[in-house]
Symmetry: C2
Subunit: 358 residues, 2 copies
């Protein structure tokens, strides 16, 4: 509280990001769904050849070089692509641009368990929110999203549940909300086998967001994007241009563009993670853990023989960070990011040691 | 207009940034107050030595390495420094954090002629605005700012007028608004001879913003900052953490830190601009132009023998971009960024040719 803060600043509950290691601290970081593998070697070339005179000039506003590469990669037109300073910024712009604000507005529909930044955006922008409970099996309750209000937002695959909603179900939600934007946050879709992008030609109300943080090993570079009808992209541009004319810096634009272009590297980067994920899932199941079949770069897993909170603490003591959400319904689970095979073997070893009381 | 945009998106008038050259286009760019000189050579070393593994991890949230360097540079504590993705983002956060929103709120006071992003932020965040006309000589009407409402924001030196409000006057405004934040936007203060930072120990309501875009030749890197009491910095952090946990990417943090550390280079970089500015001011005055004594890296200048709009167009045809604002009171002026000596000599030559009808 401060007398200089306005009402919103005093009342809002900011998002709490995953813990970061202190400089020099040796830890295995499996708590923020980063990719453990370094960026494509092509990035090094960008760095070496960068003309530092470029840094003195404002970057191109719309990140056109990234938009063009993303458009090629995804088979859309550059006019259908919007880039921002991480997908968090893109999501914030989308909430500001499309969902209704004010006490009398119709509420935005979101799952009660999903990316926990959504309620923060809703609060920041005074968007009334209606939280739709996930079903008992953590799947999204599609019927409830088919009673249209002021728009829809959900992650697919969802976080922290790691579950995918099949496209046929996504399409039902799109059909039932023809007059409002349905925001499908595909931060993890590269690790899945479906994407709502294929529905874009049919639905003008569909906005699909994504990020280079996970599949492209560029969390440090901050490049998020949205893909949708040009009308929606223009709406995002209007908000961007009312906030920060140059949200993506000139180095990030170049790094992102060469990375997206390096398709084979990206495919291999993703498939390594999926292989490790499926191996570790089986290993943990052998140990009596339960978890859904993840379609993401993390596991949403319920430990066996020990509480999730207790295991979280013990792993932390052993230098392994995972994410624990002390919230109803999910407080028996850990969200464990897929690291390298070596890191995941260290996790298994630590889990076994803890089970043996070591 | 789009049926998918909400009311705000439909009604807002976004900021219009200065024109950017098309790829390959050879122009002299004197329209967005960038620094014409390349970043410090130390930046090249950062690039060459960058571990690309770092890019796969989220950046440190608060840009602590930059905050520490800025704190040393400005003689404050790191806890008094906030960093964002360009000073536009920092300004937007400050508007969101401190000024009152809603129909019944007390208005924010801003000069009628100042950075034209302020009214856009006010509109985006539903902050009522009271525009205080500049005096006839373009100076800020201090008395009018001493009738407190919901806070104060102004640029000092002001843009596009290039005029400095003396610190004794700034202090009057601070004293008269003890219960609200007074935001002094010092984007151009490095080219002036005073800074409101010296008033920080006395005024808890003072927030000073700045940027590395101009004095530090890093417009492309996007690093803006705010300096103030820890309570104000905490307010900015609350808004940041409700918007984007990682606003400054990991490369930008390193580039900014080494640049701020390179004090001698920065001092020389600034003094070159000031010397060129004062020379060109005299040259233009010899040609009958009128302009205030600029305390910035641009001239706010009224051409002689030709209208500002007409000269703007003719310069553009000759490949020289300057900024023209078609707004009451300032539509007889051009805002001309100080480029290199060669660029400014080319400007003088073009001005002379146009005067001769060439």
């Amino acid at each position: 509280m401060s007398r200089f803060w306005n009402e919103k600043t005093n009342s809002i509950e900011p998002y709490v990001a995953g813990e970061q290691p202190k400089p020099g601290q040796k830890i295995i970081k499996l708590n923020t769904n980063e990719n453990p593998y370094p960026a494509t070697p092509k990035v090094s070339k960008v760095m070496e050849n960068l003309d530092i005179g470029l840094l003195a000039r404002y970057p191109e506003t719309s990140s056109v070089m990234v938009r063009e590469e993303l458009a090629k990669y995804f088979g859309v037109r550059p006019e259908q692509v919007f880039c921002g300073n991480g997908s968090d910024e893109v999501l914030a712009f989308a909430f500001q641009a499309f969902f209704e604000a004010g006490e009398n507005a119709r509420p935005l529909l979101v799952p009660d368990i999903s990316y926990s930044f959504y309620p923060v955006y809703a609060s920041l922008y005074s968007i009334p929110l209606k939280k739709i409970p996930l079903k008992e099996d953590f799947s999204i309750d599609v019927e409830a999203f088919c009673q249209p209000e002021g728009g829809v937002a959900f992650a697919n695959p969802n976080a922290p549940t790691s579950l995918k909603l099949p496209l046929t179900e996504v399409e039902k939600i799109l059909k039932a909300n023809p007059d409002h934007v349905v925001l499908v946050d595909e931060a993890y879709a590269a690790f899945s086998d479906e994407t709502a992008r294929v529905l874009l030609p049919k639905y003008k109300n569909l906005l699909v967001t994504g990020t280079l943080s996970k599949s492209h090993s560029l969390a440090g570079v901050r490049l998020g994007f949205a893909i949708g009808d040009e009308e929606l992209i223009e709406g995002l541009c209007r908000i961007r241009d009312s906030f920060n004319s140059y949200p993506v810096d000139c180095i990030a634009q170049r790094v992102a563009a060469v990375t997206v272009e390096d398709k084979e590297w990206v495919a291999e980067n993703v498939s390594k993670i999926c292989a490790t994920r499926d191996r570790i899932k089986e290993e943990l199941r052998k140990r009596g853990w339960t978890m859904p079949d993840s379609k993401t770069n993390f596991l949403f897993a319920k430990p066996c023989g020990i509480g999730a909170d207790s295991l979280y603490t013990k792993l932390r003591e052993k230098g392994i960070l995972v994410r624990y959400f002390n919230k109803p319904r999910i407080n028996e689970y850990l969200r464990i990011t897929i690291g390298t095979d070596e890191e995941m073997d260290a996790l298994l070893k630590a889990v076994d040691e803890i089970a043996e009381g070591k």
